[in-house]
C-alpha cells in the first residue's frame, strides 16, 4: 500500500468514528413470497471485524448481496455513514467504499493477474481519443501491493485461473484494500481452502482490519471467525439468532450456536427411534462443541 492511500484510509476511518460505516436496521429481503432475510440488525465499525455465521440457507448470501449492491432490501433500513442508501449496482457500493470479495466470482480466470487486479478501475494515461491503459504503472502497483500482502508471483501475466484458491482470494483482498475500501466484505473466504491456506487468508483479514477497515467476515466456521472477529452474528433461517461482542461469547458458545445445539439433541432422539443407533456414544447437547465444528468445516 502506498503512503498516500494509507493516509486516505486513516482519514476515512477517523471521520466515521462513532457512527458505524455500515448499519442495517431491521433489514429484510423477500424474493416473491419467500422471505430470505428478516429483521436483521448489524453494525460495522472501522477497524473491527464483524463476523456473520450461519448454516447453508441461513441468509448469509442475501445479506452480503444487499450490502454489496447486487440486490436491494425490501424491508428495514440500510445506512452508510448514518445515511439511508439503496444501491442499484455494485459500482455504487464500490464508490461508497464497500468492496466485496466473493467466494466464487471474484476474478476472471483467463485474464492476467494484473488485469484482474485493476479490472473495473483501470489506470489510464493520455487525452481521450488516445487514452490508453498505463500498463507499466499498473503492473508495478499490482506487484507492490501483492508483495505488501506477502504474495510474490513470478509472472503477473499468468492467467489468474492458474493461481491456487488461497492466492486468488489474497489477490482479491489486496485489490479491495488498495482501492481504498472502507468496508471489506468477505464471502466465505476460507470455505474451499486447506488449513494452511486458510491461515494465510485469516492473516490478511487481520491485516486489513488493523489498517482501519471495517471487515464483514461471512463464514460457517466458528473457529476461523473467533480468530479474527470482534463481533459475532449468527443467522438462522433468515433471522438473527445471536448478536454478541467478543467479550460476551466464548468459542464454545459460538460453536454450539453454529452447530444448533438443541436441534442436535432432538435429532439424536429421532435417530434413536428410527434406526436404533447407539445413542449412548453420541455426545450430549451441552458438550457438542469442537467435534461439530470440525465436521462443519470444508463444505460451503
Amino acid at each position: 500500500m502506498t503512503t498516500a492511500d494509507t493516509g486516505k484510509n486513516n482519514d476515512q476511518a477517523t471521520a466515521a468514528d462513532g457512527t458505524p460505516v455500515v448499519e442495517l436496521r431491521g433489514t429484510g429481503k423477500s424474493y416473491g413470497n419467500i422471505r430470505a432475510l428478516h429483521g436483521v440488525d448489524l453494525a460495522v465499525h472501522p477497524g473491527k471485524a464483524t463476523c456473520v455465521l450461519g448454516d447453508n440457507g441461513a441468509g448469509k448470501s442475501t445479506l452480503i448481496k444487499i450490502i454489496s449492491g447486487l440486490h436491494q432490501h425490501t424491508e428495514g433500513e440500510f445506512l452508510v455513514d448514518g445515511e439511508a442508501v439503496r444501491f442499484s449496482t455494485p459500482r455504487e457500493a464500490l464508490d461508497r467504499g464497500i468492496a466485496t470479495v466473493y467466494q466464487d466470482l471474484a476474478t476472471v480466470p483467463l485474464m492476467p493477474v494484473w488485469r484482474n487486479f485493476f479490472l473495473g478501475s483501470e489506470m489510464t494515461k493520455g487525452p481521450w481519443p488516445v487514452r490508453r491503459l498505463d500498463i507499466a504503472r499498473m503492473k508495478k502497483t499490482a506487484d507492490e501491493e501483492l508483495r505488501n500482502m506477502g504474495i510474490v508471483l513470478d509472472d503477473l501475466e499468468q492467467p489468474i485461473g492458474t493461481l491456487s484458491g488461497g492466492q486468488r482470494q489474497c489477490v482479491a483482498i489486496a485489490r479491495a484494500v488498495y482501492f481504498g475500501a472502507r468496508v471489506l466484505i468477505l464471502d466465505e473466504p476460507t470455505a474451499a481452502l486447506g488449513v494452511k491456506q486458510s491461515g494465510v487468508v485469516l492473516k490478511y483479514i487481520a491485516a486489513a482490519r488493523d489498517r482501519g477497515l471495517g471487515v464483514i467476515f461471512i463464514t460457517h466456521n466458528p473457529h476461523h471467525a473467533y480468530m479474527v472477529g470482534d463481533h459475532f452474528n449468527v443467522l438462522r433461517l433468515g433471522t438473527l439468532e445471536l448478536s454478541a461482542d467478543r467479550s460476551e461469547v466464548s468459542l464454545e458458545e459460538l460453536t454450539n450456536h453454529m452447530a444448533g445445539g438443541a436441534e442436535l439433541a432432538a435429532l439424536k432422539h429421532e435417530l434413536a427411534q428410527v434406526r436404533g443407533v447407539d445413542v449412548e456414544e453420541l455426545p450430549e447437547a451441552k458438550d457438542l462443541q469442537a467435534p461439530m465444528a470440525a465436521s462443519s468445516e470444508g463444505n460451503s
Partner: protein
C-alpha cells in the same frame, strides 16, 4: 505435442505454503512454448502451411496479381471477422452479421435512388440503420437474458425476409437499381472500393482498411479500458459486474460494432458492383464466425485476439482462391473449411484447459 510442458508448472505447484519466499515453483517455460500459448500463433502457422501448400501446388498462385486477389477476398471477410471476433471475445454471437451487410447496402442504395439524393445521404442512413440493428440485438439480449444465438437468429431470419420483401416492394425486382450515375458516387467509390497500384500489381483499398481496422482493434483490445472490459464480460460476466465493469454497455456496444462492420462491407459491395442482390449474405455469418474461431477466439468468450482473425480470414482467402488456381473443383472449399474449423476448435479447447489448469 507441448501438453506435458504446458502442464508442468501447474502440476508441480503445491498449495501456497509460505508466500513470503521467492516463488520458484513455476518453472520458466521456453519461449516457443509461451509463444504457442498465444491465441494468434496457431493460426499464423496454419496460414503459413496453407500458403506453402498452394505455392507448391499451383504455379499461378505465385503471381503478384493472384496475391492481390487473395488479399481482396480475405479483406472482405476479414473486415467483418474483426468485430465478430471482438463480440465473440465478449462472449456473444451475431448470426445476423451476414444479412446485415446486405441490409445496409440495400438501405443506402434504395434511399439514395428512390429519393434521388446524393449517395452520401444513403450511406449515412445505412450507417444509422446498421448501428440500430446492432443496438437492437444487444438490447434484446441484455434485456431478456436470452442467449445471443436465439436473439440474433431471430434478427437473421427477420432481416433476410425484410431484405427480399422490401426490395421487391420498392423496386419491383430482387436487385436494386444501378446507382453509378448518381451524385457523390465517385467520391464514395474512392473511399469504399477504389484500387491502388504497388509495383505493377493492382490492390483493392479494402485491404488497407482491413489492416487499419485490425491494428485499431488490437490497440483497443490490449491497450484500452474498453478492451479490458471486453475480455472481462466474455470471461466472467458476473465477476466483471461485481467489480464495476459496465457489462450491458460493453455488450450492446459490441453488437453495434458488428453493425458498423456490416455497414462498411455493405458500402464496399454497393460501390463495387453498383447494385445489390437482396437475397445475398445468407451463410456469410458462419464464415465470419469460423474465421474468428480459426483465429484463436474462444467460442465461449474471454479469450482471443484481433490479429488471429486476420490470419483466419487470410487462410479463407488463400484456400478459396488457391483451389481455383490449382485447377481443382471449387466444391472442395467447404470441405477444407470444415477440417480447418475442427482443428482450430480442438487447439482452442486445449489452450483453455492448459491456461486454467491448477
Amino acid at each position: 505435442m507441448t501438453m506435458s510442458q504446458q502442464a508442468a508448472p501447474a502440476v508441480t505447484s503445491p498449495p501456497a505454503s509460505g508466500p513470503k519466499e521467492r516463488d520458484g515453483r513455476t518453472a520458466q517455460r521456453s519461449l516457443v512454448l509461451r509463444l504457442l500459448a498465444r491465441p494468434e500463433v496457431g493460426v499464423f502457422l496454419g496460414a503459413v502451411a496453407v500458403f506453402v501448400f498452394f505455392f507448391a501446388m499451383a504455379p499461378t498462385f505465385r503471381s503478384g496479381s493472384a496475391m492481390a486477389t487473395v488479399l481482396y477476398q480475405s479483406s472482405t471477410i476479414g473486415i467483418m471477422a474483426l468485430p465478430v471476433a471482438l463480440l465473440m471475445i465478449g462472449g456473444e454471437f451475431d448470426l445476423s452479421a451476414g444479412v446485415a451487410v446486405i441490409t445496409s447496402a440495400l438501405t443506402a442504395s434504395m434511399v439514395s435512388f428512390q429519393l434521388t439524393m446524393n449517395v452520401w445521404v444513403g450511406v449515412i442512413v445505412a450507417l444509422v440503420v446498421s448501428l440500430a440493428v446492432g443496438a437492437f440485438n444487444g438490447w434484446m439480449m441484455v434485456r431478456t437474458g436470452l442467449p445471443s444465438f436465439l436473439v440474433t437468429l431471430g434478427t437473421f431470419l427477420g432481416l433476410q425476409g425484410i431484405n427480399l420483401a422490401v426490395t421487391k416492394l420498392i423496386t419491383g425486382n430482387v436487385a436494386t437499381d444501378d446507382i453509378s450515375d448518381m451524385d457523390g458516387f465517385d467520391q464514395a467509390k474512392a473511399v469504399f472500393s477504389s484500387s491502388f497500384t504497388v509495383g505493377g500489381v493492382q490492390f483493392k483499398v479494402t485491404v488497407l482498411w482491413w489492416l487499419f481496422f485490425a491494428a485499431l482493434a488490437t490497440w483497443v483490445l490490449l491497450r484500452t479500458k474498453y478492451g479490458n472490459w471486453i475480455f472481462a464480460v466474455g470471461g466472467n460476466k458476473d465477476s466483471a459486474r461485481a467489480v464495476g465493469v459496465p457489462v450491458k454497455f460493453t455488450k450492446i456496444s459490441l453488437f453495434m460494432l458488428v453493425g458498423f462492420g456490416a455497414w462498411f462491407v455493405g458500402m464496399h459491395q454497393l460501390f463495387a458492383f453498383n447494385t445489390v442482390q437482396s437475397g445475398e449474405g445468407v451463410g456469410q455469418e458462419l464464415i465470419y464466425i469460423a474465421a474468428a474461431v480459426i483465429g484463436g477466439c474462444l467460442l465461449t468468450g474471454g479469450y482471443g485476439s484481433a490479429i488471429g482473425p486476420v490470419f483466419g480470414a487470410f487462410m479463407f482467402g488463400m484456400v478459396s482462391q488457391g483451389i481455383v488456381y490449382a485447377g481443382w473443383n471449387p466444391d472442395w472449399f467447404k470441405a477444407f473449411l470444415g477440417v480447418m474449423l475442427l482443428g482450430a476448435t480442438l487447439i482452442n479447447l486445449w489452450v483453455q484447459k492448459s491456461a486454467t489448469r491448477r
